[in-house]
């Protein structure tokens, strides 16, 4: 019901899956920042395509799972593009050629171009996020964030413990809906269910906190079970990714 897409084992064992999650995060952030600086449609098309190709070839993600992950994002991409085109101030300029019009609403050529460029940007950013999520294990991400990015460990592992309770959240939702049905309430959805969901979630957080405190969570220096170290492939990945970013930005000038 709540679809947290778990990456497949073959993707986690792939060359892209073995790269440090922090290195991937840094590179994707740099690419997204680069995309935010350009309004040309070409860099997002290039970077988005390279990101997806890397996920399939280097990350061994099945094209079918990639398509399933991307489908819901297509609509949002189109929405952003459409509204940027529709609400562009160029539409009010009577000197510009009209591409389409409906009553008082005009759509001019520059507005359409701007809308397409922004749709490309949003689509590329979404594709990069999917490529990251489908090749990265959440536990390893948190290990790497703590060990390589020096994120405070109590908060990072506390967040991980809470995140791993997401399937419980889905069970709670089912239980709450059944409870409503038993009480003879027709609609199986109601905003009040949010309160019930949060009550159950906070109770679970309390139990988790007691269990973690009982095991000495955060009470002293922490030893590492899974050690994350920077490796040569990480450096190669970051180097190659930076070159691609610069090339795509220059290409889009």
């Amino acid at each position: 019901m709540i679809a947290v897409r778990a990456p497949e084992d073959r993707s986690l064992a792939s060359p892209l899956g073995r790269i440090s999650p922090v290195a991937k995060l840094v590179l994707v952030a740099a690419w997204v920042a680069g995309l935010a600086l350009t309004t040309d449609p070409r860099p997002p098309l290039v970077l988005g395509a390279i990101g997806l190709a890397a996920a399939v070839v280097l990350g061994r993600v099945r094209p079918a799972s990639l398509a399933v992950a991307l489908a819901p994002l297509a609509f949002a991409t189109l929405t952003v593009g459409f509204f940027n085109a529709l609400l562009n101030p160029a539409n009010g300029n009577p000197a510009l050629a009209v591409v389409a019009s409906l009553g008082p609403i005009r759509l001019t050529a520059p507005a359409v171009v701007a809308g397409v460029a922004l749709a490309c940007r949003v689509g590329a950013v979404a594709a990069l996020g999917i490529a990251f999520a489908l090749t990265t294990d959440t536990t390893r991400l948190v290990d790497a964030l703590v060990q390589q990015a020096r994120v405070p460990e109590r908060f990072a592992y506390g967040a991980l413990a809470a995140f791993q309770a997401v399937p419980r959240l889905a069970e709670d939702l089912v239980a709450l809906r059944e409870a409503r049905r038993i009480r003879g309430l027709r609609a199986s959805w109601h905003p009040r269910m949010l309160v019930g969901l949060l009550v159950l979630a906070i109770r679970r957080a309390d139990r988790l906190a007691v269990a973690m405190d009982a095991r000495g969570f955060g009470s002293g220096p922490r030893t590492r079970f899974r050690v994350e170290r920077w490796s040569l492939p990480d450096a190669a990945f970051l180097g190659a990714g930076s070159v691609v970013l610069v090339a795509a930005m220059v290409f889009g000038r």
Binding site: F83, L118, V122, F155, A162, A205, D206
Partner: protein, 193 residues
């Protein structure tokens, strides 16, 4: 006049995080990450025909930045909850992808700043409303720059106003109601009130 070292001028609430504070904030962040996932992928697209007035429903994305600090009352709770909620929605699959982390950061940081100015001591509706408005303002500027840079200024002002109203009603008033309901349910025993 000498101020003695053992009597601070203002008594600040204990800023240390218990494990329980961390877990409750994290669980709120994760739960709202799932809400964000729903909002990102389903609800928001259905609201698209409303045009700029779609933003009257924007503030659902800002709730953890006010609700979590209102419950645990620790420095950093706004930022932690909002960033975690954003992160969870990215992992679950979001059309806005990693940019959501930037959104979450600016939204959480803006609310955090307001709570920091109140020295984490005032938790009435006025402070919550100001924090909600600050968070919405940060989100508005971010979205203008990243997603709608070509949209006309008049439309942007309309969008900003809609987001402000949304923040006041959904975040300011809404999180107060949610916290009250949770307190009545008895799950907030041991948290300051």
């Amino acid at each position: 006049m000498a101020i003695s070292a053992d009597a601070p001028a203002v008594a600040l609430p204990d800023p240390r995080w218990r494990t329980r504070d961390i877990l409750v904030t994290a669980v709120l962040g994760v739960a709202f990450g799932v809400v964000f996932w729903f909002w990102n992928n389903l609800a928001w697209s259905f609201l698209a025909p409303l045009g700029p007035f779609q933003n009257l429903f924007y503030a659902v994305w800002l709730i953890p930045a006010v609700l979590a600090p209102l419950i645990v009352r620790k420095p950093g709770a706004a930022l932690f909850a909002e960033l975690l909620a954003a992160g969870v929605s990215v992992i679950a699959g979001s059309p806005w992808s990693l940019d959501v982390l930037l959104s979450g950061f600016v939204q959480g940081a803006a609310a955090e700043l307001v709570f920091a100015f109140s020295l984490y001591r005032a938790w009435g509706l006025p402070v919550l409303a100001i924090a909600a408005l600050a968070s919405a303002t940060a989100a508005w500027i971010h979205d203008w720059v990243i997603y709608y840079p070509t949209v006309a200024v008049e439309t942007q002002l309309l969008v900003g106003a809609a987001m402000g109203v949304s923040a006041l009603v959904i975040v300011g008033f809404g999180s107060l109601m949610l916290a009250r309901a949770l307190r009545r349910a008895g799950v907030l025993e041991g948290f300051p009130r």
